[in-house]
């Protein structure tokens, strides 16, 4: 017994030891590379002229033509690159940026006057050729720009440089909001690749990329030759942490100055700042399937949901009960559409009426939810489920991850699906109801399961109108949808939370989620 248990003789022991040593060497060799690399700030004691920002995720790319992706846009837009125009998130008005003025020559022709004396980070001059190149590169090119699908979606246009500071843009069809659409085209020098995306772009913005240590941190530094007022922070250091409570803790322990994308339970405490984040939560009702094809049932769903209770308890008071997808400040918002009142008696009455008329109200309805779409997403759906059951409907919940949920959001929808309520959220950062109505309420919209020809024609007319007429036309379409179509149950205009250290002053606004302007951040005191 003792003999067999004895450790093998010396040569074998050496073999084992060398195997372990080799493993140890492999591990320690790697150890040096993590510990010593990267400019990431360690705890506390940041340079006074650097603002430290913690994001929920690393930008996958800083490609300007993908700046409509939140993770990319919030770093790129207005910091590294700029557009010809920019939308004021407060008033919704369009402001000059790299273009100083613009006018419509005919329904399909626009002239932009460009800012003279602007230079890109690489020293080349910004001119109409660069602007035309950037528009061509973003819209309808072969490189699959996210902005193209998001803002232009098949619109054909041609941009021509008349002289250094004059740009003409022609559209195939009249487009009254072309200058607004162009506020999404980030301008890059004509030397940028036109056949492939770039990861680290050159722009005209107040900051340029100093170092991107993939996986760890990203540093931007002030661009000395910036045409506008120099921003106060000399540099910005971005890191990313997936966990909200860690992001909040980083501000509390002085490892970061700004932490975004927080939930009430992340514990930001005194450092928390609330702001309307431009998102509106809603349930899409699939009105093509019984019992949801009966308007009484859709109305009953709206009456049954206690929006005040939902906002107060589940959303911790953050948000505002809502009746339409388009909030105030966005072209098309209708002040006539209010949040549905909570009236359970009326909901029960409508369900009973529908049942009496032969509508199969006991058909199970499935709520398709999405985990993490907003804080307490699952709890919100449980509250809705309870209310609808109380109103007399049969309701089940299925919570999915983003990609599985997208299969239900976008056409073509899964086959053999029963009646569904889809948990969704709509962002209004583009500032015009045109980006809402067609795709969500149009009968052929990418996110739409149901529409009416009357609503379709109202939307089409509104899309062609401009100015006050446009506002009125979209508002009328929204009112019609809310009263006569009832294709959804809008829940609330949502509120975002960010944490701010006492070192920094920054007023977040409705655009903050998609565009965090470093120039708006100032050292405190």
């Amino acid at each position: 017994m003792i003999k067999t248990m004895r450790v093998p003789s010396t040569p074998r022991r050496r073999q084992a030891a060398s195997a372990l040593l080799a493993l140890g060497a492999m591990l320690s060799a790697g150890a040096c590379s993590v510990a010593n690399s990267g400019p990431e700030t360690s705890s506390g004691g940041a340079a006074a002229n650097t603002v430290r920002i913690v994001l929920p995720e690393e930008p996958p790319t800083l490609e300007p033509c993908d700046a409509s992706l939140t993770a990319t846009g919030r770093v790129t837009r207005a910091n590294i690159t700029e557009a010809l125009t920019e939308r004021d998130p407060g008033t919704g008005r369009l402001q000059p940026a790299l273009a100083t003025e613009w006018k419509q020559d005919s329904p399909t022709e626009w002239t932009f006057t460009l800012r003279p004396g602007v230079k890109f980070h690489d020293g080349t001059a910004f001119d109409a050729k660069a602007a035309a190149f950037s528009i061509d590169r973003t819209v309808g090119s072969e490189i699959d720009c996210n902005v193209d699908g998001y803002v232009f979606g098949g619109i054909e246009l041609t941009a021509t440089a008349v002289d250094d500071t004059t740009l003409k843009v022609k559209t195939a069809k009249p487009d009254p909001i072309l200058p607004l659409r162009l506020s999404f085209v980030e301008i890059v020098p004509a030397t940028t690749s036109a056949t492939g995306k770039v990861r680290e772009p050159v722009g005209t913005g107040p900051y340029k990329i100093a170092k991107w240590d993939t996986g760890r941190s990203l540093r931007l530094e002030r661009h000395a030759g910036y045409w506008g007022k120099a921003p106060e922070f000399a540099a910005a250091e971005y890191v990313w942490r997936a966990e909200g409570s860690i992001r909040a803790a980083m501000v509390k322990s002085d490892e970061a100055d700004v932490a975004i994308g927080l939930a009430p339970e992340d514990g930001a405490g005194d450092s928390a700042v609330q702001y309307p984040n431009n998102e509106t939560s809603y349930l899409r009702i699939d009105a093509t399937k019984a019992p949801l094809n009966d308007i009484r049932v859709r109305q009953a769903i709206n009456y049954a949901i206690d929006r005040d209770g939902l906002v107060a308890s589940v959303f911790a008071g953050l948000g505002k009960p809502a009746g339409q997808l388009v909030p105030e400040g966005v072209t098309g918002h209708s002040s006539a559409v209010q949040a549905w009142p909570h009236d359970m008696a009326q909901a029960k009455k409508l369900v009973a009426e529908a049942k009496a008329a032969g509508v199969p109200t006991d058909t199970p309805i499935k709520i398709i939810g999405r985990n993490g779409i907003y804080p307490k997403a699952a709890e919100a759906m449980e509250v809705v489920q309870n209310s609808l059951i109380e109103a007399g409907l049969k309701v089940e919940i299925e919570m999915l991850d983003v990609n599985a949920w997208l299969e239900y959001l976008l056409r073509p929808f899964p086959k053999n699906l029963g009646p569904t309520l889809l948990q969704a959220q709509h962002g209004n950062q583009a500032g015009d109801a045109a980006f809402t109505m067609g795709q969500i309420y149009g009968s052929k919209g990418a996110q739409s399961s149901y529409g009416t020809s009357e609503l379709d024609s109202m939307i089409a007319a509104a899309e062609q109108a401009s100015g006050e007429e446009r506002q009125t036309a979209f508002a009328k379409a929204l009112e019609h949808q809310s009263k006569d179509v009832v294709r959804d149950a809008v829940l609330a205009h949502m509120t975002g939370i960010l944490a701010l250290s006492p070192r920094v002053t920054y007023k977040p606004n409705a655009a903050t989620n998609d565009e965090m302007r470093l120039a708006d951040m100032h050292p405190a005191g």
Binding site: I2, T4, M5, V7, P8, Q15, A16, A19, L20, L23, G24, M26, L27, S28, G30, A31, S33, V34, A35, G38, E40, T41, S42, S43, E57, P60, T61, D144, N146, D148, G149, Y150, G153, G154, K197, R199, T214, G215, V239, W240, R241, A242, E243, S245, I246, A249, M250, K252, S253, E255, D401, N403, A404, L406, E407, L409, L410, Q439, A446, Q447
Partner: protein, 308 residues
């Protein structure tokens, strides 16, 4: 020994192939990545172009064949999310995980030997009971909870440690402690058990009667014989660490393979996911062989059992 290794490698290669095929097929069953990578309002033409460019319009077996042909040429494809080669992303992330797992296991083994031997030296004493209680608690502690509590106490309330990140020695403390706690708890129990029986074995009495000191008895004689079972468990725990660093890496922003895998699953970034799984599977496969080889070296019965 060579025969042993050859057989061991052959038998482990089958699960490796199954894992690679499984991940390839399962990933593609989870939905169309075009939904995530194209804007919501993308036209059907844009979707078709996207599918054609990435080969998703081909039948699954054609896609798998092409993938295997690529892998043979050491080409692991391109990330859908960042457009960089998948191999680069994986080779950047993997060392970070190995360092974390390596540092954790070295500390867990050293700590478990000290505490486990101490407890086994005087079974049922107060020291033994304290060690058993703490190791059981540690072994059953949810790492997510421990990580968040660690941050709240040591980073926010006391301000001793950074909440997360990878810069500086202090940044290692919370991630390593979080990862350490479970293997440490398990190993203390294993070492204690093995040492209790080793210390009561006749050869210990022989050693003592020959005048060996107590330290030499415990660490020179008993530990040597208690080592094989502890080594096997430590090996399994290391495999678990490499595989399961997801929570710790996500919470602490540690740019390792666990975090990369979870991101690539959520983003349906097939090439990166496949490369990450492949590298992890090969590492686990290699670790298992190293463990088996060490075990065989330490215990000739294992070696002979396989070779005869």
């Amino acid at each position: 020994m060579l025969t042993f290794l050859r057989r061991r490698i052959t038998s482990s290669a089958i699960p490796l192939v199954v894992v690679i095929l499984g991940v390839f097929c399962l990933a593609r069953l989870t939905g169309d990545p075009a939904n995530l990578y194209l804007p919501l309002s993308a036209t059907p033409e844009m979707r078709a172009e996207f599918a054609a460019r990435h080969g998703f319009d081909q039948p699954l077996y054609v896609q798998f064949g092409e993938y295997l042909a690529q892998v043979v040429r050491l080409d692991f494809g391109e990330s859908l999310r960042t457009a960089e080669p998948a191999a680069e992303a994986v080779l950047r992330a993997f060392p970070a995980t190995l360092q974390l797992a390596g540092a954790t296991m070295i500390l867990a083994i050293l700590g478990a030997i000290a505490v486990g031997s101490w407890a086994a030296y005087r079974p049922n004493s107060a020291a033994d009971r304290i060690a058993s209680f703490t190791s059981t608690t540690a072994a059953s502690m949810p790492d997510f909870w421990f990580a968040i509590m660690g941050v709240l106490v040591f980073a926010v309330a006391l301000g001793w440690l950074p909440t997360s990140g990878t810069v500086g020695a202090l940044a290692w403390v919370l991630p390593v402690l979080t990862l350490l706690i479970r293997p440490f708890g398990v190993l203390v129990q294993v070492v204690r058990g093995a040492m209790v029986s080793a210390l009561s074995a006749p050869y210990i009495k022989v050693a003592r009667s020959k005048g060996a000191g107590e330290l030499r008895v415990v660490f020179g004689h008993a530990l040597r014989n208690a080592a094989p079972p502890a080594l096997t468990v430590a090996g399994d725990l290391t495999v678990g660490l490499v595989n399961g660093a997801v929570v710790v890496e996500t919470i602490f922003g540690w740019p390792g393979i666990g975090k990369l895998m979870i991101t690539s699953i959520l983003q349906r970034d097939f090439a990166v996911l496949q490369a990450a799984v492949l590298v992890t599977a090969i590492t686990i496969f290699a670790l298992n062989i190293v463990i088996d080889a060490c075990y065989a070296l330490l215990d000739s019965r294992v070696r002979q059992g396989v070779t005869t």
